[in-house]
Amino acid sequence: MISLSLTPTSSWYLILSAVLFAIGTFGVLVRRNPLVMFMCIELMLNAVNLSFVTLARELNDINGQTIVFFVMVVAAAEVVVGLGIIVSIMRNRSAMTVDDLAELKG
């Protein structure tokens, strides 16, 4: 069980990471602005990064931090491609929500 002493153990970090992940999930489900949805995906990626670093310290293993490095690189590439898609879709439209993209033919 979680110890009640005032030194943060790994469980504290992991629970914080779980809460952050759930907040990101909620944002992706609820928000309609594609940019804000992307920010919520970044929140989820950061939650996973936090738990990777926590487990790297817990298991005394540097490979967890290596994975976080690769996750950051892939996240940067993903943001670049995603924002490119959003710009190319939204450039000629006045609407700003994903609900306006319901039809297949633009």
Partner: protein
């Protein structure tokens, strides 16, 4: 001391994350995202991942958020989402239930699995007099450039593909077919 750092960083992270999902202006959401990213960087430092904390500040809080703000400016800053109306019926209660369930499952797994995993790594070097001040960076570099060097090279290909694909996606289409 570590308790104080953890509480402050956790407050930064949670306030920023809630700010991202409740602020209706996308610029405010992006600035709340910066708060969260800095909080995560603080927790990285608190867990001796110094290089990753630096990369977090430079890449995430620097480059990615600037990219977000740039796109917001490009598409027009005055398009504010109306958060009062619910586009789909009963979507928000369902989303709240889903997310609470997600937190419940994850916390139960964390509390149950506490101490199940054993130390099995070769150890993380901490900066001290013997290892030098850049011990974390050196060890991470040794890991990336020896064991994961193939993944590192593939990552460079991925970045090139992302850049070329974005240029292709966002260029103006030719006005008339040839």
């Amino acid at each position: 001391m570590e308790f104080f750092v953890f509480v402050c960083a956790a407050l930064m992270i949670l306030l920023g994350a809630v700010g991202v999902i409740v602020r209706k202006h996308p610029v405010h959401a992006a600035l709340s995202l910066v708060l969260t990213l800095f909080g995560v960087a603080v927790l990285f430092v608190a867990q001796e991942a110094h290089f990753l904390a630096a990369v977090q500040v430079i890449v995430y809080a620097g480059a990615i958020v600037v990219l977000f703000l740039f796109v917001i400016m490009l598409l027009g800053v005055d398009r504010v989402e109306n958060l009062r109306t619910e586009p789909l019926t009963a979507q928000r209660p369902l989303a709240i239930i889903t997310c609470l369930g997600l937190v419940g499952v994850l916390v139960a797994a964390i509390v149950n699995g506490n101490g199940v995993l054993n130390e099995r790594g070769e150890g993380i070097n901490l900066p001290d007099l013997q290892n030098g001040p850049d011990a974390n960076t050196v060890q991470l570099a040794e890991s990336i450039f020896s064991r994961y060097v193939v993944a590192f090279e593939v990552t460079s290909v991925l970045l090139v593909i992302a850049v070329v694909g974005t240029v292709l996606l966002t260029r103006k289409a030719k006005s008339s077919a040839k």
